[in-house]
Structure formats: C-alpha cells, structure tokens
Amino acid sequence: MDATDQVATRPSRRGPAAEDRAPRVVIRCQDVHKFYLAGSRSVYALKGIDLEVREREFVSVVGKSGCGKSTLLHCIAGLLPVSHGEVAINGERVDKPGRRDIGLVFQTSALLRWRTAWDNVLLPAEVFGLSRAAIEPRVRQLFRLVELEGFERQYPNQLSGGMQQRVAIARALVHDPAVLLMDEPFGALDAQTRETMTLELMRIWEATPKTVLFVTHDLQEAAFLATRVVVMSARPGTIQAIVDVPMPHPRTPDLLARADFVETVQRLRRLLMAQ
C-alpha cells in the first residue's frame, strides 16, 4: 500500500512545487477587444485576445499586415485604450502610458536628431528625473552591450540604420525595464543588416534576459528569436495559434539549418497561408 500511496501523493506534491518554479506571468491580456473609427471606416482591430507572457519569455507575434499586431503592442504599452477586456503588466491594470517597467522599440528609431547617441539613451532617465551621474555608468555599459563604443558623441543622422536601432535598443534598456516591447524593430533595415541585428538581439537577450514581446512579419526572424510564436489572423485580429519554439539557447545561425527549426518555420508559414 505504501507504493500506491506514494504514487497517489506524488502529483499533488509536484503540483504546487511546479507552480512555484513556473515563471510568473508578466504580461496578461484578457479578452482584449479593440475597435476604432478611422474617418469613414471602422476597424475591428483586435477580437478576444487572451495572452499570457511569462517572465523572461521571448514571444514573437506574426501575422499579415493589418492583423492588429502593432495595435496589440500599443494597447499593452498603454498608448491605446482597449475597447473591452483588460491588459495587465505585473498584475497591474494598464490604462494609460507611463509605466517605468517597459521599454519600447519602434520600426523607426525615433531618435531625437538634436541629441547625440549618448543623450538619446539618457532620455528616459531624464524623463524619470534620475541623476545623470547615477545613470551614466549604466549607459556606458549599454553602449558596450550594443557594441557602439566610440559612437557616443555621434548624432543619429551620422549613424547607419542598424546603428540607430542599436541606440534605440540601448535607450529602451536604460531604465532596466522588466518588459521590452518591440514593434517591427528591424522592419526598415536591409536584409543583411536585419540578419546581423537579429543575431545581436539574441545575444543581448541572452545577456540580459527580459520579457520580450516582438512584433514582426518575418517568420524566420520570429522563430529564431522566440520561445513562443503567436500567429494572428486579420479582420478582426485574433490569435490563430501559438507555436512553441523549444530549441535551446544560446542560439546560433546554425539553428537556421536545423531540420526541426526549418519545420517550425514551415508550420508558421502554413498557418499564415491557411488564412
């Protein structure tokens, strides 16, 4: 009877322990709907989005253009109000922008051209009213992380597109946010730079693991970076499927040729084409 007892008790003992070990939910979307009027037409951008992103997860969001993936990201950042449902970060309901625990990167670098790269990275700290002296060691460290040492005094227009996005990433990280929201950050770069930046981002994420939500329309990029890929379908934007990418870290370009990775990308492609 001893043996049966043990078998019976094991799951119940493992249950709470496993929950303790599972990373906590950082981003939670519950039945998020977004509807808006744009001039004479109405847009049902998001319909019933349920999504949980756990701590230190890297979640990519893919979908055809107009599927609401950017809208979802803007809602999570608090830049757009939701029409129904709730977005919460770290358990707190998001209803306006201005959280200090998120960092944002856009498709455009959104760098201020009258500020040097260094001063651009300092911007969030200035807005928060942190002292320059306190933050500067961290800024120096970030320039090393994004491999832009020596370019601190350059103005954005003196930097290449890829370098500008590195500055934007450093700026998003300067206040050490728990969450990084990236809206097609490499979308405006040429194919070569894009590939380099994808590898760079992987390296940066492996060095400073954050909870990342990464919007893209490039399936290979999405799968290479992510632990999970959310596939969205359009009009109205819904979550069609969530695909796990279980390949281990650190990830190197070799992964791109691995059969199971290729199969994952192929699966994503089939999902999108089935729409």
Binding site: L79, G98, R100, L104, A110, L111, W114, V127
Partner: protein, 283 residues
C-alpha cells in the same frame, strides 16, 4: 592600351595614385565653376547697369537719374541719409523683436490647446488674407506720428509668419518620438521642452528670416504714411521735391539695409540649426 597598373604596385600606392589625380581634377573643376559663376554675375550686373544707363539717356535726369548722378546724390546727401538711417534701423529692429516675440508667444499658447486652435482657425485664416500694410493708417491714428506707430506696423507684419510657423512647427512632431515620450510618462512640459521646441526650431527660424524682411517693409510703409523722419519719409520728400537722384540714393541705402537684415537673420538661423544639428525645413 596602357600597361596594367595593379601588377607592380601596392593598394596604398594605387590609392595615392588615384587620389592625387582625383583631387587635382576636383580642384580644377571647382575653380572653373567659381570662375564662370563670377564672370556670369559680373555680366548680369553690367547688363543691369547698362539698362539703367540707357534709360537715363532716354529720360531727363529729373525722371531717371543715371548711375553717376545717383552716386553724386549719395555723397551730397550723406548728412541727410546719415541722420535718417538710424531711425529706420531702430524701427526695423524693434518691430522685428516685438512682432516675432509676440508671434512666437501666441503661437506657443495656441499650440497648447486643440480647442484654441480649432476656435481661432477662421480668424487666423482671415488675418492671413488681410493686407497688413493697409492697417498702417489705423495704427498711426491710435499711436501717433512718433516711433511707436512705425514699430507697430513693422511688428504687425513680422508677427504673422512667426505665429503661423510656430504653430505648424510645434505640431509637426514625429509620431514615434511622441509615443516614446508618452510611454515613459513624460509630462506635457517635458514633451514640450524635450521634443516640440526642437521640432519647431527650423520653422521658427525660417519665420524669423521672413519676419526680418517684412519688418523692413513695415517700417518703410509706416514712414510713408506718417513720416517726417526716417528713410521712408525721405523717399516721400525726395519724390515731392523732384530730388530724384536723392530718391535713388535713398533706395540704394534701403536695399543695403534690407540685405544686411536678411543676411543677419540667415546667419543666425544657420548657426542655431547647426548648434542643434537640425535641418532647415523642406520647401
């Protein structure tokens, strides 16, 4: 077919070889462009003087004095010119300062509020259409014949381009930069001082350049209407007394003055934009 270059030379030597040649060609090209430009400009100047001279030969001196008579009048009338020029300069400078400060100030105020802009739009459009110089008599009736009325006319004309450009400049913000600041929880004041002011600067400086020229026009118009002193008044008196060559000389001084004002404004604009690594607005 010349011998192959690369065979017996290092890359550095090849670079030196091509660099020297390219640099020489470029210097030569630049020199030629500069020379042709100068020659062309002198030709145009001579042509204009020729037209003037020909007109002077056809018409009697009291109607069209020639170049020589004008220079003569400049020297003969230098005391009068010397006396009147500072007055006009003061009117231009004060009018420019008052008009542009008010334009920028009101522009900032209006740009703070959507409601203010929506409500005021028809009035701003009408004010654009009003021929501002036509308001000179009205201002002079209120402000009298002294310095104040001319400053007011100059300020009024200088005011509108700054009002318009300040509002437009403060509004034309990069949406992602704005979203970024909002996502950080920046206050309106922070968004204003860290973002909007800088995006507005190129248009504000373009407005200042236009205002400098318009202030000159305003000061002269003011003197036309209510002048006993200043270069504009001198133009009117010269015309009345048929001192046509003095009229021409005065016109020359005014042209030089307007050029000076414009160049000063433009150099200020360039320096300020370079200081903040900003590009001039696209036309």
């Amino acid at each position: 077919m010349p011998p192959r270059l690369a065979a017996d030379k290092t890359d550095a030597e090849l670079v030196e070889h091509f660099y020297a040649r390219a640099a020489r060609a470029e210097t030569e090209q630049r020199r030629r462009v500069r020379q042709t430009t100068r020659v062309g400009q002198v030709v145009v100047l001579l042509a204009l003087l020729g037209v003037w001279w020909a007109a002077a030969a056809v018409y009697p001196p009291v109607l069209v004095p020639g170049p020589a008579a004008t220079v003569q009048a400049f020297f003969d009338g230098r005391a009068t010119l010397w006396e009147n020029t500072p007055i006009t300069i003061a009117e231009i400078v004060l009018g420019f300062l008052v008009g542009s400060l008010l334009g920028i100030g009101l522009g900032i105020a209006i740009a703070q509020s959507r409601w203010a802009e929506i409500i005021l739009t028809p009035y701003l459009v009408v004010s654009q259409a009003v021929p501002k110089v036509a308001l000179a008599p009205i201002l002079i009736i209120v402000l009298g014949y002294g310095l104040a009325s001319k400053v007011a006319v100059a300020a009024l004309i200088a005011f509108f381009p700054l009002l318009e450009n300040t509002i437009a400049g403060l509004r034309q913000v990069d949406p992602d930069s704005l979203r970024l600041l909002q996502s950080l929880g920046a206050t309106r004041w922070q968004i204003f001082t860290k973002l909007r002011v800088f995006t507005a600067l190129p248009l504000i400086f373009a407005g200042l350049r236009i205002a400098a020229v318009l202030a000159t026009v305003g000061a002269i118009v003011g003197e036309f209407v209510a002048g006993n002193r200043g270069l504009g008044a001198l133009l009117v008196t010269s015309m009345g007394t048929f001192s046509t060559s003095l009229l021409y000389a005065t016109m020359g001084v005014l042209t030089a003055l307007a050029c000076g004002v414009y160049l000063a404004a433009r150099s200020g604009e360039r320096r300020a934009l370079a200081r903040y690594n900003l590009a001039p607005p696209e036309r």
